[in-house]
Symmetry: C2
Subunit: 349 residues, 2 copies
């Protein structure tokens, strides 16, 4: 669609904290990298902590409806200490992921040359986590009884369906199959979470029959964290549930250059709803307004957005620009804006 | 009790794979370190994969009953690829933790000098994770519907009670209060798992009122993994739920010298049931019988056992022996037995 009409209609949710600052740089690079004949339209949505304080709203139906009309969504970051924990996360961010059926939460990790990692010996890191995005312990299915008393009981239910697991596992096999190493690792905890674990493992094995060229592996989530720091090179594509994926991708970001570089896509592969792209990092209120936020994760999220919409050469241009920019970083401080400018200049040339 | 009668009656569950090999070294060091006048009795329980293959039993009532009569339990490792995932874990290891109400799963992490870590720059690591051991997603509370069909639904329920959270949180405050830095970090995911998360946070804050000298902190589990690799020195005592504790302590082991050194205690602080001590590592069937297993984690678990039973000087002697042994390791290969012998010699002198 966007290819034929050569227009791009992006919803922008800057959100909270450094969200606005990094999104501005993402849009700067986006408008620079697009071919002249592609018409870029953006519409900003005022959602997040300030809106909630003002109106009590997190994501009203009218705006949810309006968001459906866009080709994709670019989101900065959501969350502020002034808002009770969970209100914006569940009322806005997770609501979008669920309403738009973003069942593939795509989180690539690549350690670029000249990028610092807490790991010794600069290991080779180049893997992608396919995190399920619409099930597991994220469904809000739980409750509490006798809340606030010494007799309180609180539950959280992880919901998993063959329907939901199969589609994300299939997506992961497709991705593994299209990469040179063709290796897919399932991460779960099927020795303890036996019901969900067996469902995941059975579906993983069954779908694997259709991909004879993909080498498969299984790891418990606890063991996976060990390999993330001792042998990250063993991973190519990882598929896992919503909560394990949340935990593993923060760790993956930490070892592959830091949270300032980690991009993500909340993808609806069917195209029924717009996909949403966002940096993995949060709103970091402590550094908001200081110019210290690194917009690179957002810029890389823009690359994922472009790839998803069929602008592959432009996505590659951004990734190469980031790679070149990182290679030339000498450790001296640059503001959010300066990094965005530098990347813009690179994608333009 | 054991102090007055000067006797020690330990149940030994070697288990599977390298379990038997490392437990033998743990017992060697235990018998050497004990004062002459303490009578050490051990009784071995044949539980694990072989027993299951032979009889179909994991932990019969009679043996569960017999285990109650011991001062403590020393366990090697449980699990074998020949047994369906979950059978031994839930039928034996977790059954013991639950039956004996091991609500404090204690897992110290210390990076000894001259010990290799995957982290650059040899950071200071000296923290202890107090992992809840009897609730959360480990209760086996879940199920599956239309199993094996495309319409399957599988659930896992995390159960959390004020009763269960309060006692483990209190234990963690006590430990933090008795350490020089007096810092306690709660790890959860209360922006998504809001019911369980709010229960944990509320109890954590309430109990904290009684410990004005303890500095507190809260981290989401995903953020905690980042700090484990970028700033492990920020942690002193961590308290967290069963599943997050499982994941975090494997990562903690990986960064603080490897899984060959990580000890743990499954503790019932009331003394109503015997506590159980085990290395964090698994049965590692791939290296069983090769002499490659490092028994140090088991030996350090013996130190935790001794401390729990009031043999503090002996516990310290073991820890100092391990520290000295590690300091003199030059990278050349030593068998399981040789390491056990070296540690025995050190604790004897
Ligand atoms: C903010 C939070 C709800 C979110 C999540 O847990 O998915 C974040 O950690 C992420 O990884 O995108
Ligand atoms: C073997 C398994 C059931 C166990 C757990 O998940 O608790 C292990 O990983 C551990 O950490 O002791």
């Amino acid at each position: 669609m966007p290819d034929m009409s050569r227009s791009l209609n992006i919803a922008v949710i800057p959100g909270d904290g450094i969200g606005r600052e990094v999104v501005a740089q993402g849009l700067k690079v986006l408008s620079t990298v697009l071919p002249q004949d592609v018409k870029l339209e953006t519409k900003e949505y005022d959602l997040g902590a300030q809106r909630w304080h003002r109106t009590g709203e997190t994501l009203p139906d009218a705006e949810l409806e309006a968001l459906k009309g866009h080709d994709a969504i670019l989101l900065g970051a959501i969350g502020d200490p002034s808002v009770p924990s969970g209100v914006l996360e569940r009322g806005l961010l997770l609501k979008l992921r669920f309403a738009f059926d973003h069942y593939v939460n795509l989180r690539p990790s690549k350690l670029f040359p000249n990028t610092s990692t807490p790991l010794a010996g600069q290991p080779e890191i180049d893997f992608v986590v396919v995190r399920e995005g619409t099930e597991g312990p994220y469904t809000g299915n739980g409750g509490s009884l006798r809340t606030g008393t010494p007799a309180e009981v609180a539950t959280e239910v992880s919901l998993n369906t063959a329907y939901g697991v199969e589609r994300v596992v299939r997506d992961a096999y497709e991705r593994a199959n299209s990469r040179p190493r063709k290796k897919l690792t399932l991460v779960h905890k099927n020795n303890v979470l036996v019901y969900a674990g067996h469902l995941w493992k059975n579906v993983f094995d069954a779908v694997g029959q259709e991909y004879p060229e993909v080498t498969t592996d299984y790891l418990h989530v606890d063991a996976a964290t060990i390999f993330f720091v001792t042998q990250p090179e063993r991973f190519d594509v990882i598929v896992t549930d919503n909560l394990f994926g949340d935990i593993l991708t923060d760790l993956a970001a930490a070892v592959s250059g830091g949270i300032g570089l980690a991009a993500s896509g909340n993808i609806n592969p069917t195209g029924a709803f717009p996909s949403m792209f966002e940096p993995v990092h949060g709103s970091a209120p402590d550094i908001a307004g200081t110019g210290k936020a690194d917009p690179t994760a957002t810029v890389l999220s823009v690359a994922l957005l472009l790839r998803h919409l069929g602008f592959e050469p432009e996505a590659v241009r951004i990734e190469e620009a980031v790679s070149a920019d990182l290679a030339e970083r000498d450790g001296s401080f640059r503001t959010t804006d300066e990094i965005g400018d530098a990347l813009s200049v690179r994608v333009a040339s």
